[in-house]
Every structure is written in C-alpha cells, then in structure tokens.
Amino acid sequence: MALDESSSPPRLSEQFSGYEKFISHITSVTSSFVLPFLYITDRHNPRITASLLNQIYRNGGDCSRARFAHINATACFTARLLYDTVLNALAGWEVAWENGCQNWPGEDGKRYNDSIDSFLHGLRNLRNKFREGKAKGNGSTVDEEPTMVLLVERAERLKDNLPDLIVPLTRLAELSQVKITTILLSSARWEDIKPPLGASPDPYFIDIDPSSKQDTVDSLLFEFRSTSTKQADAGTQDKTYHPSLLPLYEQYVEHVYNVCSLYTTNIQELQYIAAARWPGFVKPVLQEQNDANGDGDPDPDAIRNELTLPASDGRMRLLKFFTPSLTAALDVLYPRLTNATDWALANDPDMQAQDEAQCQTNTEGSIIVDHLPRMSKFILLAAFLASTNPAKSDVRMFGRGADKQKRRRRKFASPKKVGAQATVAKVPQRLLGPVVFPLDRLLAILGALLEENDVENRPHESCFELPGEQTDMELGRVHIYAAISELTSMRALHRTTAVEKLEGPPMYKCGISFRVAGAIAKGLQVPLNDLMWDPL
C-alpha cells in the first residue's frame, strides 16, 4: 500500500504540479471510508482539480479500488439524469447501441431512476453485486464492503437545478447504508449551497490554494510536451510544437505569465492565450530555420532534427515585439470575444500591419444601428433620453419658453451638488439602467427633438403655417408607430406592458447603451450631452 502511494503520485504530480500536498491529503482521507461527505472549494482551477480527482480514482493505485462516478452538476440538470449517470458510472455500464441504449438494468430489470428511494435501492443493489463479485473472485475477503466515491463537479449548480437532492446527496452513505463517499467540488462556498435548518451534516472541508508561478509554468510546459509527443506520433510536418523548442517555450510561457498574471492566473486561460499566440511567435524562428536549411529537400528525417534556437538577444527582441499583442490577446480572448484560432489568424505577425484595423469585433454584443433609417435613429435617441432623464425635467430640458438661459442654469445645479448636502448622493440614471416611460412621453420628446434638429433639413411646405405644425403632422404618421414596433422587435426598445393590455399607454424601456446613443447623436448632429439631465 505504501508502495502504491509512493509510486503513483510522481506521475500525477508531474502533470499536476503544485498539487502534491492535495494528492496525499485526499488519498489518505478517502483510502479508508471515514468521511461520508467532503467538500472541496477551489476558486482558481476547479476543472483541473476535477480532472486530477478523476485520475486519482480511476487509475491512481490505492484509491482506484473504490468504484468511482464523476458527474457534472451542469450536465445532470434533472434528478433522473443524475441517478442514471451515477448508477451507470458506478456499475461500469456503457450505454451503447447494441444493448438498446438502455441504462444499467440492475438485476431484476427494475428502474432505479424514478425517485431518490429507487436510487438508494440501486446503490444497495450495486453494493450487493460487487460483494458477490468479490466473494467469487477471492473467497477470503467476503466481509470487506466495497467502497464507492461520487464526485460532483460544479456542485453550486445543484442549488439551482436540484435543490431537493442536496440533502440526500450529502447524507448518501447514511441513507443508503452503503459505504459511499460524496465529494462536492465547487468554486463557491459550502455556506452558499447549504440547505437551511442544518438538514445536511457539515462536510469535511478541503480548500485548494492558488498555484504558484512555477507550478503554473510547469503545468503549461507539461502540456507542451504532451502536444509535441502527440504530434510526433502523428507524424505531422508542422514544427510548431517541435520538442527542441521547449526551452524557448519555457521562456515564452514565463513571459506570458508575467504579462497576464495581473488579470488572470487561471491555468487554462493562460494556456488558451499562450496557445493562441505561440504559432505566430515561433513563425520567425521556423522561417529562419527553413531559409537556413534551404527549401529544396523535404527530408522525412527533418522533423527529428534539432532546431537551433535564437540567441538570447534574439529571444529578448522576440518577446519584446510580441508583448503588446499578448495584452491584446488577453483583452480579447479572456472575455472570449472571439476564439483563439480566429484571433491567431487575424494577428498573424506577417499581415498584422495591413488589416489590424479590420479586426474590430462586435465586442459589446450591442445592437447595430448603422443601417437604421433617420427617423428610427431619432426615435432611439428620444427613447434613450426618456429612459435616462427624470420625467419632471422634461419641461426644462425641452421646453422652448425661457430657453437656453434657464435650462442651462437648472442643469448645472446638477444632482451631484445636491447630493453633497443630502445624506445619499444620487447615482446618475445612466449607470442604474433605463427606466420605463409611456409611449406619449416618447412621442413628446421625439417631437421636441425633431423640431430642434430636423426642421431645417425638411423641404418646406407652404400648407403648414404655424411653427411646429409640420412636426406634429410627422408625429402622427403611422410610419412612426411602425418604426417603434420594428425597434421593439429588434430589442432596441423593450416593451414592458403586455401587448394585449388595452388600458393606459404602452410602456417602453430603452435597450441601447450610452455608447450607442452617443454614436447616433453624433451622426444626427444632436448635442446629446446638453439634453441629458446628468451630463457626462
């Protein structure tokens, strides 16, 4: 047993560097059935921890004698899915076309997925089966109870999806009378998931510390090595992951870590960024190799050949050249505004110069308003103002009476100064989100906007004599209403009242952000800032 402990972790700890302490901890805790319920909090790399646990229990020597089921609470979003997945995994049952795609049938063909009671019966049934199997295998250890381990990844999802199942899962060993250890793995705290009134026993807590720089770099290097062996096995001509590039990669990864660690230390995120930039990064190096070798002979042994790495000053220049693009990669790839492949293509070092400007992505996921007709833009602007300004301020902001003087004065007595005297300063509405306004108010503001900014552009018609008469007529057109409906359907406006509701005016909410509104106003040459109660 001791031999197992000493022989298996080195292989694991090579892949998961920095986890040695955790590995020895978890193996000694679960090697004999002491604790029925463990809770692992990992706020940094929960997926890596999950795969580590998976490897420990699947082929980690001492603990792999236990039956193991690894489920993800995101995937098991209903109770039946959870029961079936767990039982199939514990029984080692593969759902296949040949066996009719059925779940683990048990002995009597009964279903074990209809309720938690049946599930518990299923567990007991499994236990009996293992025990019989063992007794047949070696008659000596009949008494030894088979142990099982159930790992639930992303356990915080249980609270949303299966709140009724948390208590039974945490008491699984007690309820089923089977030696089963439940391990919940989550990035949230147990206190956030815990059912009320102490219905669940408190778990054995294990917290995972963030990995250090060296550990992060080591695990990234491990990935490089495994990729290069994989590619060597596949026999590709691509030298991007050639084994002899490893020293360069180490330096590169350290540099990536230094640049990005301020923003994220998640190993997988770093890996993603590193993988996106690496092909571009080594391209000059490989090109130089090719030029040196002469591009005449595609020697099959060329892959095996060592590559000469650039000297230290060359490396420094390379790293320095790519630093800005690493920051750019972080800004784009970390929030997943695009994927690594596309990004790598767009930021290829050779073509970077010409089409850098074109890789503008729709970052905010905002509504695109460029193609809208002029009137729709005015409607959107009016909606934005109606959603941002308080209703009481409309007369002051848009009234034509006392005009500029009064308006400006009122406006500069802005809420910020009022807030200094009052107890609580007001937050500008632009930051709190749009408020709801009735259709009438939208039309009124739209009228004011058109009258101020649109009249000059219209061809004058002699039949309108009174000032504003033409605008009034424009406002009454059915086209305005159609445009509002269209904007609603493209979610630039949100209708908050039900369509079938008759009483009262329909209520709307603006769906565009300040930035988009600013762009529209610029296009229409409307001084937006002057019209806002809370100017920026």
Partner: protein, 557 residues
C-alpha cells in the same frame, strides 16, 4: 549530543526549570535529565561543568521522562519504570525513542502510512466503541438501555410501542437506534424511512412496500398495480414511459395494518420525523401510531415499534391532536458528554491505535510523540475551546482527520500547529480566505463596490463600478507617478475583462443578486450587493500591497 539540537522545542523544560530553582538544577538533571530543547541543551552544558559527567551522557536516552513533569500523567509510572532499563550501554541508542526526528527515516515510511490507516480506522469505529465502554455519559447510556428494553418488549412479547429519540446533532441518536436493533436476539423486520427522501406519504408508502418485499420475499399491493398495468400493455410505448407506480393514498391504512400480521415483529425507524409531521393530514404517522397503539398482546399478532429520530425538540407539538393521542409520549433524550476528559480520552485512543509492524523502533517513537502531543498545553487549550463550542463528535472527527491526513514523511508526527490549522480548516472557517489572491480587475471592482456602499448605495450595478473604475483610471493616468521606473498608477482594464471578472465574483457569490434577473435588463444594469465589508476589502488590499489600490480604497469620495 548533536541529536539534542534538532529536536523540536517544547514547553515543559521551561516549566521544569522555573519550577526548580537554581541550586537544585544540577540535582534535578541528575535525576531526570531533560535535554531535548535548545534551552535544555545549554543547561546541560552548564551542568557539564559539574562533576557528574557520566550522567550527562544520558540525557538523550531518557528524554521520555520529560512527560514526568506534567501533573497526574498516568504514563509516569510506566515510563519511570522503563527508564532504568534504558540507562544501559550507549549501544542501545538507536532503538530507544530518545528524540523525535524532524524528518522520517525512509525505512519508517511504511509504518507511518500503516499508522495513518490504523488511526483512520479507529476514528471510523470510535463512536460505537465509546458506548460499549458506557463512558458516553449518563444520558446516552440511559437512553440506550430504555430503547433496548422497549424493542425487546416489541420483539419478544409482541407489544406495540412508539417513542421519539431526541437530541442535538452528533449526539449519537442514530447510533443508539442501530445498536439497539442489532442487540435484539431475534431479527425484526426493519423499515427505515427518512424525512429527507420521503417528501410525501405516497412515496413513503411505496418505500415501505419495497422494503417489506425485500425483507420478507413477498410483494405487497404490487399485484394490484401489476394487474392494472397488464391491461394497459397493449400500447408498446407505455412500458418505456416514465410512469411511476405510486400507490394511491387509500392503500395506506391497509398496508400499515398488515404490518402486525407479518411473521416477525416490525421496527419502523423514522429519521427526521419532524418532516413527516409536515405531510398532508399526517396520514402516515397517524396510521403507524394507530397500529402501534392498537396492537394488543396475545392476539396472534406480532409487535410493532415506531421510533422517531429527530433533533427538533418541539416535535410533539407539531403532531395533530388525533396523532398525538395515539403516540405513547415516550421521549428518549441523548446528549454527548460534556467533560473534557471524555474527549481527551477519545483523541488519545485514536492516536494510539496499534499497528503491526516489523520495525521495532516505530512503536516507542510513536508513543513518545503522542505523549508529547497530548501533554502539550496548547493542544489542550485548542481542544478545550473546541469542546466548549460544540459537543458534536463529527466536528472532532473532522478535525482529527485533518490532523492525521496532514501527516507525511516530511512532517511525520502530529503537532500543535497541525491541530490549529485543522481547526481553522474545519471549525472556524475564514469566509473569504482567497480575497488577496484575486486578480487585479476583481479587486478593483470590490473597491468600487466598497466605495459605493460607503456612499450609501447598497445595490450596485456593473455600470456604476465601471464608471468608478474609469474615473479612477483617468485620475491616475492624468498624473502618472513612477517609482523606480515602474508606474504605480491604476492599470488599464478593458470593460470586457472587468465584466468577465464581475461574472466570476457573481459566481463566487461575493456579489449577490438583489433583484430577479430578467431578459429585458441588460447585464450591466442588474442589481447586486456585495457580501464583503469595507474591512474585508481593506485586509485583502493590504495583503496585496499595491499602492494605487490602497490609495483608491482609502480615498474619501
């Protein structure tokens, strides 16, 4: 004498020296030489100047006697009787547990893992063994005896009995019930139901029937349902459908009343019985208790016992009047013992688990370290504190598992520091230990949220935080300060990166949603509140040690 220096410092030598005034030191050393610490080492050297040279050779061998200094240690006599034997030639040195090595010699690695396993096994069984010593305190012993008598009445004389077992968590309720059932001389039919899984009476009914058919080999009301199913079987798609054959509630009285007519007597264990009282009309409780009450001795029936297990002290008040009147009113209380000595004994037993090992030096070495561990005043203080807070045996078990699991060849013996860290990991948990390791954008958001809170805005939106951050960034960029060539201003973060970190904080439940999210609210405008106080953020920022963040946090807005 080299060995003397590397051993771990302890409290007691100091005590011994303060206890014995200057002149008597030499004499004292001669009697029970205690030379395991640096302090003691110096003292030994002092003593070396004294004529008794031969005795100064001894100290490392007889150091187990250090425990002698502790008042009322039972090991005292044993060790003292041992020590003369060890005053033997220096050749016997390696075998004697003279010192605690900091690192484990490689050949003892097997012993350590065996020892760990033995301790964990001991821990697993500890509750059961405790009670057989009947040292579990008067309350539990009495409860256990009463329950045994009650069940014996049911099984041997065919009585109908009912009782509740009440007690706080981890006080041994379930263990007492299990043991009482196991101690019976005839095996009854045991039906276990839990309020956590049986959410209504129909599920409970189905479960009763299922457990009965497993234990008796007959089916109950299954035939009825099956007959119905046969008729429907014309439809080939039906049998694959998700139909659950839950019996109608009308079967309940019929099934429960058959319980007394079975070949053996029946014990029904209701875990979390207070939750059964929430079921509609308390039908199951009513039927069970009614059957138990009306079970008369000597009518050819077998007995039935209904045992409710709960932590809720007012469970009986939850029962409806008609149910309560059928309940016998017996309530057995359990409580864990409160004396420190019990818990200390428990810990000692776990740590002193025996192992079979060919290495002879292991056992004395281990005994010595455990002696030291148990006798350590700081350890005692920690355990006293824990016991004062909770009498839950499971908490103690978790702490011990934490100590045992932390043993490794590099730190092979339990220490007070390990105990403290195990207690911190299991009992007194820091709610947000990782704040200082959060990435920069998250901390910025937290600082902005703390400022918003100070300004009186409990609910925050992402736009507010982003605006505050932008303001700060602009201010810092307007007046760039450089120290030693590096900027100490606020680093740039794009809106999207901040948004991603914001979502991460929501996922970690540091930002808690205050209004239900809806599709018409843009993610930047959803309202949250921060679970952290200003002090939490302050501590994290201080630990991070970034000047710009510190300045921002302490800045009045």
């Amino acid at each position: 004498m080299h060995s003397v220096e590397i051993s771990t410092p302890r409290l007691f030598p100091k005590i011994t020296f303060t206890a014995s005034p200057g002149p008597s030191t030499r004499q004292y050393l001669a009697k029970t030489p205690t030379a395991t610490t640096g302090v003691a080492h110096q003292a030994a050297e002092l003593a070396a100047a004294s004529p008794s040279r031969t005795q100064n050779v001894l100290p490392p061998q007889t150091s187990p006697n250090r425990t002698n200094q502790l008042p009322s240690t039972p090991i005292k006599d044993r060790l003292q009787s041992k020590s003369p034997k060890k005053d033997q030639p220096p050749a016997s040195r390696p075998q004697s547990p003279t010192r605690i090595p900091r690192n484990l010699p490689s050949h003892l690695g097997t012993c350590l893992s065996l020892q760990k396993r033995a301790m964990l096994l001991e821990l697993q069984n500890c509750i059961i063994e405790c009670d057989e010593d009947s040292s579990l305190g008067p309350t539990n012993t009495a409860a256990s005896q009463q329950l045994k008598d009650l069940l014996a009445g049911t099984v041997t004389r065919g009585e109908g009995n009912s009782c509740f077992v009440l007690g706080p968590r981890g006080s041994g309720k379930t263990a007492i019930v299990d043991r009482a059932i196991a101690s019976l001389n005839q095996t009854p039919i045991v039906i276990r139901l839990s309020g956590y899984t049986e959410l209504n009476d129909r599920l409970a009914l189905r479960e009763i029937a299922r457990q009965l058919s497993i234990q008796t080999g007959k089916t109950y009301f299954g035939e009825l349902n099956n007959d119905n199913d046969q008729e429907d079987d014309d439809n080939p798609f039906l049998d694959a459908g998700p139909s659950i054959d839950i019996p109608p509630p009308s079967h309940l009285p019929a099934l429960v009343s058959t319980l007394t007519t079975l070949s053996r007597s029946v014990v029904v264990v209701l875990d979390a019985v207070d939750l059964f009282a929430l079921h509609a009309r308390q039908a199951l409780l009513y039927c069970l208790l009614d059957t138990a009450q009306s079970c008369r001795v000597g009518q050819g029936h077998n007995g039935i016992a209904v045992i409710g297990v709960t932590t809720r002290i007012d469970t009986i008040n939850l029962l409806e009047k008609r149910v309560k009147s059928r309940f016998s009113g017996r309530m057995l209380r359990t409580a864990a013992p409160t004396e420190l000595s019990f818990w200390m004994k428990l810990i000692e037993r776990v740590l002193r688990a025996r192992i079979e090992t060919p290495e002879e030096e292991w056992e004395p070495l281990w005994t010595l370290t455990i002696d030291n561990f148990i006798a350590d005043g700081k350890v005692l203080k920690q355990i006293r504190e824990t016991v004062a807070v909770t009498h839950d045996i499971r908490v103690l078990r978790r702490i011990l598992v934490g100590v045992i699991a932390a043993l490794a060849p590099s730190s092979p013996f339990p220490t007070c520091a390990q105990l403290v860290s195990a207690i911190h990991a299991q009992r007194i948990r820091d709610p947000f230990p990782h704040l200082s390791t959060l990435p920069y954008p998250s901390i910025c958001l937290l600082i902005a949220a703390a400022h918003a809170h100070t300004a009186g805005h409990d609910a925050i939106t992402f736009e507010m935080l982003y605006d505050a951050f932008r303001e700060q960034y602009r201010a810092s960029a307007a007046a760039p300060i450089q120290i030693a060539g590096g900027s100490i201003g606020v680093s740039r973060c794009t809106r999207e990166v901040l948004m991603r970190e914001f979502e991460r904080l929501i996922g970690e439940k540091i930002f808690i949603c205050v209004a239900p999210s809806s599709t018409s609210i843009a993610p930047g405008f959803a309202r949250y509140r921060s679970a952290l106080t200003w002090d939490d953020v302050k501590r994290a920022v201080d630990k991070m040690g970034k000047t710009s963040l510190k300045k921002w946090l302490t800045k009045a807005q």
